[in-house]
Symmetry: D3
């Protein structure tokens, strides 16, 4: 049994994430999906709660879900400590996948090399949120089950509103 | 007995706040004044401590105080959770007053509709602090008892100094 | 204007607290009532939320309230730091009243001498909660407005249930 | 799509948990399994990390897993706030299952009624840990896949050692 | 340059600690002394502040100090994470010394074997504090410079008072 | 015995710090060096861990170390409380040295006047980090033992990489 870790904020879960997870699940028995920055929500960069993100990931994965764990993990202020903090909340993994340079750097502290996943060009969390705010075609960038979920919880209005207010962290607003 | 909640940072308490509270107290038996971001102080946006803000609010309210609660509440990083966190520190309320779009959005999560208060044009926390820093006429924007209090604790110098240093949060400065 | 600080957990507010506050308000212009351990609730020792405690204190004080502040303050793990932490949430005070030896010791660190209040024999938070759990005459130990409030929120059942479950802190239960 | 919430510490996951989850999954489309007290580990009451608990739950569920979420949630000190804190980390649920009186009480604060699950007599987290420490037959109380997992990570020795040291929380030991 | 880590709470620093450190400094170039549970003070088990403990350690070490680091480290609630948390606050070390079975167990998680130090029979933090409270001969168990320091800050009275009040953590007292 | 406090983040320790400490140690018996913002690391402004900073300070001090304490102190969000928080982690001091206007302001809250140290023109933490990132001559601005240490831990690459990623706090990155 070989298991891979895949880390993201999934704000929201999109086709690029699905593409990377398919790639991982062709090479590993199971994937652990860590939902980072779990304590943040209702901000411009983190509009969805951890629970909403977990729900959309299971929806987007479909049948692949039975080979995946989806686990929210809070951020902490000590970056050096963050990889082990994350690992204490997830099952043991053999390999860490990430295209994020900073994540790669931090895992090296523990002596763990990270591996990159193939990228779907033009799809990113930021891009999807911007298209939502600008009334653009965000739906084609996410699995249709995820698009339906987001519309059902009025997620498009939420993302647009938070971007307009530029709410970043609560302490700045009131 | 009907009770209303009024939320602000009160940095400092000014005539706009007093105006809103008079409006509320004409319609409700009691007002709960939540002093948000209570743990922050000595920053450009939050120059006064929670205790100083509580003291100036009671001064500014005068006789109205006997129908009010003034309660400091710390901010937390989970925005979704913030309204209930706040409610656990204050007496039960029937209505929530706020003109802040973000506060309105967050209270909707709990199924609570917020109501707007009339606004006194040209008066805001930010405006009062800017006038303090620029040696402008800030005193006419706050109750005279509050102005006296701020001068007694050398608040004008503090606000000016913090704005000049652009101290936002401590971690950024040293 | 001379102001005194009075510290307690007020689980619940009882005649002994009222007796001490009357004593203080004969000697000072204003009293600051700090509601300690504010973040704790629904435990055997801390059954009521900070908000409920604030509400019962205002009810119990009656007309005296207009000369009082009622302010919840969270506990922190650094005892040495606790008195100044508390002072940052309350208006400036001239004297600190407490019969608690530990509170007295901690305020000495700041060079602040505490003063004792007269005691009403046989009345304490613990005693009131025990009488509630044993179906005893707790009502005669608290102001009648407070008794009514506690009954309205089903506080007697809550206190009895929590004592039976011996819920102390959440981490111990599940 | 109807979804149920099931809350526990799963120290470790045993046949009683599996029994309850089978009952729930006969009545609901999906079950959300919240792993409470997630930040605690290597104590007498909480020997396993959140990640280890998640791993044993998926193992124990077998094919049922595809209809379940398994989500670690940290405890917080404000009990009143805990149910909504938990709900912010999990997908939306229709019903909350719990036989724990305290959990039932806390969810009532949010207006949510909890439902009880059938119980497997003589099986509990405490019982399994005690049998581990006393070299008793703990294996028959947990799914065989979970027993294998626990032996592979030397969990029996860990539980016995922590019980002998009576390590409860770290602050008490050194 | 070879460096060893030595962990304790040092409540207070006594001859047993000095004995162990002499043993370590005969075998290593430098010793890193981690003052654990740094955030706790003014409790029965942790009467002295981190700063006071650091001061008494330097006093007790005398000339050995120039080859030592003395570093306070807060406890955290995630035991699994604690060793790396501690290591992020201290210089890189080659070996970890500890006679505490729990500390040994936790460092094994990181793959780090701990080594035991020789013990001075009949000397422990608990014993010294008990002798202080019972007016016994605690002074012969600590370096004379440490005894003087403790008397200068009225430490004996503090330890006795806290043991009598059985103040363990602040949340339990008020 | 007279003791002075010197506060900094030491990202990294440079000749300006050494210059100030020599000045202080000519006037005081001992210096307490508080390493502020201790919990932050692997960010653009705080690239080095507390432990690495402590190690480089001892290296840079050479023989002066035997008269110094080097103590990491976490930042907290309540600025008013920060000076006493810091003081609870360090030995008692007679004088506080700082050229930082904000630090001076905060210590005044406790009634403590701070004293300025002479400055070495053109040397600052920011300048050293910028030269590292731009392949400039940073080595001449720090003690040679510190330069060697930084190169041995690949510190130059780390600082450059973090500046390029503009990693400020973790929550912003993923």
């Amino acid at each position: 049994m070989r298991r891979a870790l895949f880390i993201g904020r999934f704000q929201p879960f999109h086709n690029g994430h699905l593409h990377a997870l398919r790639y991982i699940l062709e090479r590993f028995d199971e994937a652990v999906i860590a939902v980072a920055a779990a304590q943040y929500n209702y901000t411009a960069d983190n509009p969805f709660t951890a629970g909403e993100r977990v729900e959309m990931i299971k929806l987007g994965l479909g049948d692949l879900y039975s080979r995946c764990y989806v686990i929210p993990v809070d951020n902490i202020s000590n970056n050096y400590l963050w990889p082990l903090h994350l690992l204490s909340y997830v099952p043991r993994v053999d390999t860490v996948f990430s295209n994020n340079r900073f994540v790669q750097e931090l895992f090296k502290i523990l002596g763990l090399e990270t591996v990159e996943t193939p990228v779907l060009p033009g799809v990113s969390d930021t891009m999807v949120r911007r298209l939502m705010a600008e009334d653009g075609d965000w739906e084609s960038l996410v699995p249709s089950s995820v698009a339906e979920f987001i519309k059902r919880i009025n997620g498009v209005e939420r993302v647009g509103g938070l971007l307009k207010l530029s709410v970043r962290v609560q302490g700045e607003r009131f």
